[in-house]
């Protein structure tokens, strides 16, 4: 069995595709957000053109100052700060989702661009591969 922490290595094929990760779920309660972030980091390590969007309850994934002690689950969300180190800079948050939850961009732990549903539709239409849970 390969080592879990083995460095995946760079993709040698030279092709760069546009990978979009769509985060729609709250950060805890299911494992999808945590494992989706792992997929984001690998695509970035493969030098792909990565975009990450947060909408619906997914906007809570990047809420600042989360404390998961009370539910006994690892707080993986500070790892979103590592995206910048992987040159993942295209982070979008849907405006309507933020507003519906009483949040603003200042409540978020990474710099994002707040976009409308319409703008998000255009971003999605440009992608080659769409992933996320």
């Amino acid at each position: 069995m390969p080592d879990e922490n083995e460095f995946e290595g760079e993709y040698q094929g030279g092709t760069v595709k546009r990978f979009l990760y769509v985060n729609r779920r709250a950060p805890h309660g299911t494992i999808y957000p945590h494992e989706t972030l792992e997929m984001v980091l690998i695509a970035a390590a493969f030098d792909q053109d990565v975009t990450v969007v947060f909408l619906d309850d997914g906007v809570y994934q990047i809420k600042k100052d989360q404390d998961t002690k009370g539910i006994g689950i690892k707080n993986f969300t500070p790892a979103f700060r590592a995206l910048d180190d992987y040159d993942v800079e295209k982070l979008y948050v849907e405006k309507e989702s933020l507003e519906a939850r009483g949040l603003t961009a200042e409540d978020l732990l990474v710099p994002v661009e707040v976009v409308s549903t319409e703008e998000l539709r255009e971003i999605m239409a440009e992608q080659d591969v769409v992933l996320g849970g």
């Binding site: 069995m1 690998i42 792909q48 591969v129 992933l131």
Partner: protein
């Protein structure tokens, strides 16, 4: 067309694996190429050879194994997701192998479409 397949749910609890299996079978029958089927999240449980459903129900693990052997499919289980869920080499049904998440990204790059099954 080259179609990559991603299965994100385990067998039985959710229909995703059934639908992915039928889609893969139908795509192959139409002459499409399936370079890889990747199992992520609870999808890794599709590779567990200890799965023993009732005899009058479909056995998804066996179905994937047989389809894999018949068409020489590359059935890949994500190592990190597998370790979390106790899926090890010893539990792998025939035709499956455990490898890194990089294999999924590679499939996304090399296939014409990556078709995702799950919520």
């Amino acid at each position: 067309m080259k179609l990559g397949i991603l299965v994100n749910e385990g067998p039985f609890t959710h229909q995703a694996s059934d639908t992915a299996y039928r889609f893969t079978e139908a795509a192959l029958a139409k002459g499409h190429e399936i370079p890889r089927v990747f199992f992520y999240h609870d999808g890794v449980n599709n590779a567990n050879k200890l799965s023993e459903p009732q005899s009058d129900d479909r056995n998804l693990v066996k179905l994937w194994s047989e389809l894999g052997e018949k068409h020489g499919l590359d059935l890949v289980v994500c190592v990190a997701a597998a370790l979390r869920r106790g899926m090890t080499d010893e539990l792998l049904a025939a035709g499956f192998r455990i490898s890194g998440l990089g294999q999924l990204i590679e499939t996304g790059i090399e296939a014409d479409r990556l078709v995702v099954f799950g919520d």
